[in-house]
């Protein structure tokens, strides 16, 4: 679905941000791109819908070369949620804001109404469709922005820190929606600083370091290598750290959730000392 071949990107000021990046993303994947600040995450993300064109190598999205395709055309295939919702909100009602993208890709009127409603429902905005988006809270504005992307019903959804500035409950709500979309067959690519969320939701993780791919693999295997992550300035969630430390003593293989850890620990204690808990 997305194919990157030796993608390089140098900003006009000579800042070489991406160096020879190659990977393939298949339909239905759920990918988190992680890395420290300045590692090139957002720059890479902007290549997926042609906002930035590779200065070397090539990027194919649905077989289209992004260098030759306009972003406004790629918008039919790739939805892109930005970090700051205020960069896009300009309509006087939430409804119009969500419908903006649909009008751009010339959707039929009845379809627009239907799709706006559907997107709003998914993000809990039904009651706010007539309010002015600028009077909403930051979290709500972020959801409006997300809904306007959802309404486009693209096969690929790209998210740049979708949970930034959201509290735990809001984050989980957004991520559950994203997971649901993924289960419906949509390809999800997100950048995040939140290792917990990346571990909890993504199926594959790409670690960027200084504009190169440092690690690319299944979430469990990436998170189970704290030493490699540390050299990228990252730290896996605590449960992975704990499991990693136990593993050094030959205990508890492949534990990724607190529940699993508890169960294994319990079994181990019962087995060795005949202690029963509970």
């Amino acid at each position: 679905m997305i194919l990157a071949e030796n993608v390089c990107y140098t900003y006009r000021n000579g800042n070489n941000v991406l160096k020879n990046i190659s990977f393939e993303i298949k339909k239905g994947e759920f990918i988190a791109i992680i890395g420290s600040n300045g590692s090139g995450k957002t720059t890479l993300l902007k290549h997926f819908n042609g906002l930035l064109k590779p200065t070397g190598g090539k990027m194919l999205v649905n077989g289209m070369d992004t260098r030759k395709t306009k972003t406004s055309r790629l918008a039919k295939y790739v939805g892109f949620l930005f970090q700051n919702p205020d960069h896009q909100i300009f309509c006087s009602t939430v409804y119009d804001e969500i419908a903006f993208g649909l009008k751009n890709i010339s959707t039929r009127r009845e379809d627009i109404r239907q799709r706006v409603k559907k997107a709003a429902e998914k993000l809990g905005l039904e009651s706010l469709l007539d309010s002015n988006p600028l009077t909403l809270s930051k979290g709500q504005r972020q959801r409006v922005a997300f809904a306007s992307i959802l309404a486009l019903e693209t096969d690929i959804i790209v998210l740049d820190e979708p949970t930034k500035g959201q509290d735990y409950i809001e984050s989980i709500k957004i991520m559950d929606t994203v997971r649901e979309l993924n289960e419906q067959g949509k390809t999800i690519i997100m950048v995040t600083h939140d290792m917990e969320l990346a571990a909890l939701y993504a199926k594959r993780i790409i670690v960027l370091r200084n504009g190169t791919i440092h690690l690319d693999g299944r979430t469990e295997s990436v998170m189970a290598s704290p030493e490699i992550l540390a050299s990228s300035g990252l730290k896996p969630p605590q449960i992975y750290m704990l499991s990693y430390m136990f593993r050094k003593y030959g205990l508890f293989w492949n534990v990724h959730t607190v529940e699993d850890m508890f169960r294994q620990l319990l079994a181990h204690l019962e087995g060795s000392k005949n202690v029963s808990i509970g």
Binding site: Y11, L51, D86, Q88, I89, G101, N104, L152
Partner: protein
């Protein structure tokens, strides 16, 4: 990203001069250029400007500005040259019909105007590229007794331009990602398509300026008398430069009075 004139750090003689001296320099260039009618004199002023830019290591950044000025000068000259009837006709725009006569005085005057424009307009970017904005402000408030609030307003306005351009790019990208297409030839449509860009830009700018005001206030801005940690006293080089500039200006005045 920004295509705007910005301070470029350096340690040339011109970099080290006092901002006031440099401001005086821009004025003396202007006075000299408009006093003399001799294109060669104006050309030499322009060459001196280029030498200053070269010693300040900013010639590369000056290049797009000079190119822009040159284009502007050419257009201005083309508009002007056909309307000067004095002097002898040297050529015609359409020789077969003897239409569009161009006289020697016309050419001379256009060259003069263009050179004046190049020399005077190139001083401002040189000033801004070799002097940190904060130094200009300090000098203006300390030496020229300009109220601090006004000079600060000027700095902030100038500082906002690059961040404004960045912000504009962000907004543009956000709308393009939603299928928004910004290239159209139709002027009416062009007017309409500005709305999705202008409103977010306006809103984020207001948010930004509010934040800035608050952050300045919590750090005690406007609480009373200010002190200043930068030393903006004049050095020997400044006095020498001022004497040189003054003599050029006086020579210019004298020459103008004689002719």
């Amino acid at each position: 990203m920004s295509a705007f004139v910005e301070y470029i750090p350096g340690n040339s003689i011109f970099h080290r001069l006092n901002p006031i001296t440099k401001i005086l320099w821009t004025f003396s260039v202007m006075i000299v250029c408009f006093l003399t009618e001799n294109p060669l004199a104006v050309l030499s002023v322009f060459i001196v400007n280029l030498v200053i830019a070269a010693t300040g290591n900013i010639i590369r950044q000056m290049y797009p500005i000079l190119r822009g000025l040159l284009v502007f000068c050419t257009i201005l000259s083309l508009c002007q040259v056909f309307f000067i009837k004095e002097g002898t006709v040297v050529l015609y725009a359409l020789p077969w019909f003897r239409l569009g006569p161009v006289t020697d005085r016309g050419i001379r005057l256009c060259v003069l105007i263009s050179l004046r424009m190049l020399s005077t307009a190139s001083t401002v970017p040189i000033l801004l590229m070799t002097t940190p904005m904060s130094d200009i402000i300090t000098a203006m408030t300390e030496k020229l007794r300009l109220p601090y609030k006004y000079s600060l307003m000027l700095t902030i306005a100038l500082k906002f331009i690059p961040s404004f351009i960045d912000e504009m790019n962000q907004v543009m990208q956000a709308q393009m990602s939603r299928g928004y297409n910004s290239d159209t030839k139709n002027p009416f449509r062009k007017f309409l398509i500005i709305i999705p860009l202008a409103i977010p830009l306006l809103i984020t700018s207001i948010q930004k300026s509010r934040l800035l005001a608050i952050s300045m206030e919590v750090r005690g801005f406007g609480s009373g008398k200010r002190s200043c940690y930068k030393d903006c006293s004049m050095g020997n080089a400044d006095y020498i430069a001022i004497i040189i500039m003054a003599s050029f200006v006086l020579a210019g005045i004298a020459a103008a009075l004689i002719t």
